[in-house]
Symmetry: C2
Subunit: 116 residues, 2 copies
Amino acid sequence: MKDTLKSIVDKIPGAKGAILMGFDGIAVEQYDGGSGADIESIATEFSFRFVELLKASKALDLGALTDITIKAERGTLLVRCLSDDFFTIVLLGDSGSFGKGRWVLKTAAPDLLASL
Amino acid sequence: MKDTLKSIVDKIPGAKGAILMGFDGIAVEQYDGGSGADIESIATEFSFRFVELLKASKALDLGALTDITIKAERGTLLVRCLSDDFFTIVLLGDSGSFGKGRWVLKTAAPDLLASL
């Protein structure tokens, strides 16, 4: 699982780290590539907010939520929901690799899910 | 303002509607292009969840949040934060026009902000 997270970070220019976490805010595995980014704190802080987005999506009959992206001044989060219980976040330093990052994450999702 | 929202929807293949709303959940203006999508309910349901994302972003020193995208099975939301008080959502039927949609919304944001 760590290898898959490392591979995701290595393939995306500007990626600062990746984490696999439960929607309960408990990290399963992470890789920061030496960037020093505190991706676990970021993921924990957002995890219960993501649960709220999932609830809203189901309540509105939009169906299961598969991806969330959040772009802020000093970082972009690419989030992929792996199952009802787990998600992966990739943290980008800027949004330059947004499209490629989404594609890499989507491609890697089956591997991550299989490793759970 | 309605013209700008209409122009956004017209320019994005598969767009079902656009809305400008306050983070208090009150709609300012909307355009559904005859799709019948209840974009106001969707935006209202998500508005206070977005406020939570904004708070998390600031708490984590990621800075002000500029864009959120939410992809679900039966719809994709492109969200652009216009100011501390207002945001715009474009609802797509699928995620095929994701990239173009983000670009159109970004380009139109100054017009929407100026019309407030």
